[in-house]
């Protein structure tokens, strides 16, 4: 593909300063997303997938800091923007939905107020126009009687409705790029399916590019065009979704896929990956997965495997890929 991707992340590095020394939560991560596509980022808790997203939005709080790399959105490096210019990008060109719809909305302000804040900031319109826009968005995400809900407080809505309101808010200023940070994790399964469908429909309708973060492989296979697997703050593998599920090359990806319980199959014990994710400040010098890997070789411990393209569009960081 020769056309410029909508988002290019190059060698992103985010470091947290702790008492035990600097901790690199995101280490040399690079990826592209083309316009209208969805990239899924998978990984266990603590693998750096959320920190990657916050780094893109520049929402990393002290003591964390993006310490290197570039984030090009439509060719513009947003890491170099001033704080004021970044405020225009956040919630405007680039929006984000969060995991917990229960806590991600301010409990003391109405849904309408929270939407208007954003719309008036980015669209520079009158309160009346903003209200119209907010109600239109609430209707678009399938909230019944949006005029009433506009004046509701978050606690008066159910979890699913709150997540819909959250989505309406994120999309209210026509973002070209949406980051969804585990938007369905806190919802029950039927609501999850509805929200996924909603995001997919809106993506098509509004021609949005999406970065979808989850630890649920089922969700990833359903929603994304490409997948990036992360472990210990680093990229293990990147491939198109079907390629990744059919030919996982990194031992970690393979183990993740193998550990999914299969429908209709009764087993004594579910397959797991032995051990647990190393703490970010005690990551091994070489491949972060070295302690749990079943295909470990002598060079794995000492040097980091580089991300190599093994098939067109399929990149793996492993000395001994499957």
């Amino acid at each position: 593909m020769s056309i410029q991707p909508l988002l290019e992340v190059k060698n992103l590095e985010t470091t947290f300063r702790t008492k035990a020394g600097p901790v690199r939560a995101v280490n040399n991560v690079s990826y592209d997303i083309h316009k209208g596509q969805t990239l899924g980022i998978v990984g266990e808790s603590g693998c750096g997938k959320s920190v990657t997203s916050y780094s893109l939005m520049r929402l990393i709080e002290h003591p964390g800091r993006v310490t290197g790399g570039q984030v090009l959105l439509n060719g513009r490096d947003i890491l170099k923007l001033s704080e004021g210019a970044m405020e225009e990008v956040r919630g405007g060109e680039m929006a984000m939905i969060f995991q917990e719809p229960m806590t991600a909305l301010n409990p003391v302000l109405t849904i309408g107020f929270q939407m208007d804040e954003q719309i008036m900031k980015h669209k520079k319109c009158s309160p009346k126009e903003s209200k119209e826009r907010a109600i239109e968005m609430l209707r678009l995400v399938g909230i019944p009687s949006p005029e009433e809900r506009y004046n509701s407080y978050p606690h008066q809505l159910s979890g699913g409705m709150r997540q819909r309101a959250m989505i309406a808010m994120a999309l209210s200023c026509d973002p070209t790029f949406l980051i969804a940070d585990e938007p369905t994790t806190a919802l029950d399964v039927t609501i999850q399916a509805q929200i996924l469908e909603l995001i997919q429909n809106l993506q098509e309708k509004l021609n949005m590019t999406v970065q979808f973060i989850t630890h649920d492989l089922g969700v990833i296979s359903e929603i994304s065009d490409r997948v990036m697997v992360m472990y210990g703050g680093q990229t293990c593998e990147q491939a198109d979704t079907s390629e990744l599920f059919l030919n996982p090359s990194h031992p970690y990806t393979a183990a993740l896929i193998a550990s999914r319980p299969k429908f209709g199959e009764r087993v004594q014990r579910l397959t797991t990956i032995e051990g647990s994710v190393p703490a970010p400040f005690e990551l091994p010098k070489g491949c972060p997965f070295v302690n749990r890997c079943s295909r470990v070789k002598s060079e794995c411990a000492g040097t980091k495997p580089p991300l190599i393209e093994i098939r067109p569009g399929h990149k793996v960081a492993c000395f001994n890929p499957l």
Partner: protein
């Protein structure tokens, strides 16, 4: 909302009656009554005189009857007569209450105006130099005993550098020199007492603001607000402080209930004609009427401010409703 308020006011009245009875009873447990004191200072009074005086003042009656008759006259607006000052309680306490109110209200408003921004400031960057300085100041304010601070202030600003009066409430005769001159004169006398009260309150309030604000800024919706592209100040005040306000209301409302109780130590050190010293003297001197009225005022203020806090919650937090 109206039914809630009416119900709460009725409850408040009931609590006032119960607590004033408890106070009345406790006062009656103290050894001696006004007539006994009279006897002590005048050995010529005979036993018959004592009995006659006791029945004349109703002191031979059981406590509940005395309470009932006291309550009866209070309701009719007769607060009684001060035994030690020999003037009606209204006349004695009116100006004293006003002085105390001035002192407490000014220092309270000053403290809030300074402490809340300080607390917010230090909460925004926990662990930073600003935070350390604010914390140091706060702990200092909380830990320094107010009487000691008052004395140091007097030594500094009235003795070493005689800029301000060491004590008192106003210059004699200043109230006849016109409205503005009176205000100016009183303000000069207020500076040191207000300062010594405020430093302590600023410490307490800023610590409290800091912790509620820290908690508020840790909420997920703060991140949402930032992700919407809102400016930093909107995020801090509209989203953070708006939520920190809810616990803050409680401590502030309860502080307001101390407006008429007086600060005994500060008032004593600065010889300020407030109600604090008066109440202390009235208890020691068996001056029932004065003591009881100040009890009732203190109790009522605490209850009233609790009610105010409850009503304010309803406005600050939509999750609380009084249906």
């Amino acid at each position: 909302m109206t039914t809630f308020i009416t119900r709460r006011i009725l409850q408040t009245l009931a609590v006032i009656v119960i607590l004033s009875y408890v106070c009345f009873y406790l006062m009656s447990l103290m050894p001696g009554d006004p007539v006994d004191m009279m006897v002590a200072s005048n050995p010529k009074i005979t036993a018959e005189d004592v009995a006659r005086l006791k029945s004349l003042y109703g002191l031979d009656q059981p406590v509940y009857k005395r309470y009932a008759s006291w309550m009866g006259s209070i309701v009719q607006g007769d607060l009684g007569y001060s035994r030690t000052y020999r003037v009606p309680v209204q006349e004695l306490m009116g100006p004293r209450l006003w002085n105390t109110f001035l002192l407490s209200a000014i220092s309270l408003i000053l403290s809030i105006a300074i402490a809340v921004p300080l607390g917010v400031l230090s909460a925004l960057k926990p662990g930073s130099k600003t935070d350390y300085v604010v914390n140091l100041f706060s702990f200092g304010g909380i830990s320094i005993p107010s009487f000691w601070l008052a004395i140091v202030l007097i030594i500094l600003f009235a003795v070493k550098f005689p800029l301000l009066p060491a004590g008192g409430t106003q210059t004699i005769g200043a109230e006849n020199m016109g409205f503005w001159a009176d205000i100016k004169d009183r303000s000069i006398y207020l500076i040191l007492p207000v300062l010594s009260l405020s430093i302590q309150q600023i410490g307490r309030f800023s610590r409290f603001t800091r912790s509620t604000m820290l908690e508020a800024m840790r909420n997920d919706f703060i991140r949402t607000a930032r992700a919407k592209g809102l400016s930093r100040s909107t995020v801090i005040w509209q989203h953070g402080f708006r939520n920190a306000l809810i616990p803050l209301i409680t401590i502030l409302a309860l502080s307001f209930s101390g407006l008429f109780s007086g600060a005994i130590l500060t008032e004593t050190v600065f010889a300020y004609q407030g109600v604090g010293k008066l109440v202390y003297d009235s208890i020691i001197g068996n001056d029932y009427n004065v003591a009881m009225i100040s009890f009732v005022i203190s109790v009522s203020m605490v209850l009233l401010m609790n009610l105010v806090a409850d009503i304010l919650y309803g406005f600050a937090d939509p999750r609380i409703s009084y249906q």
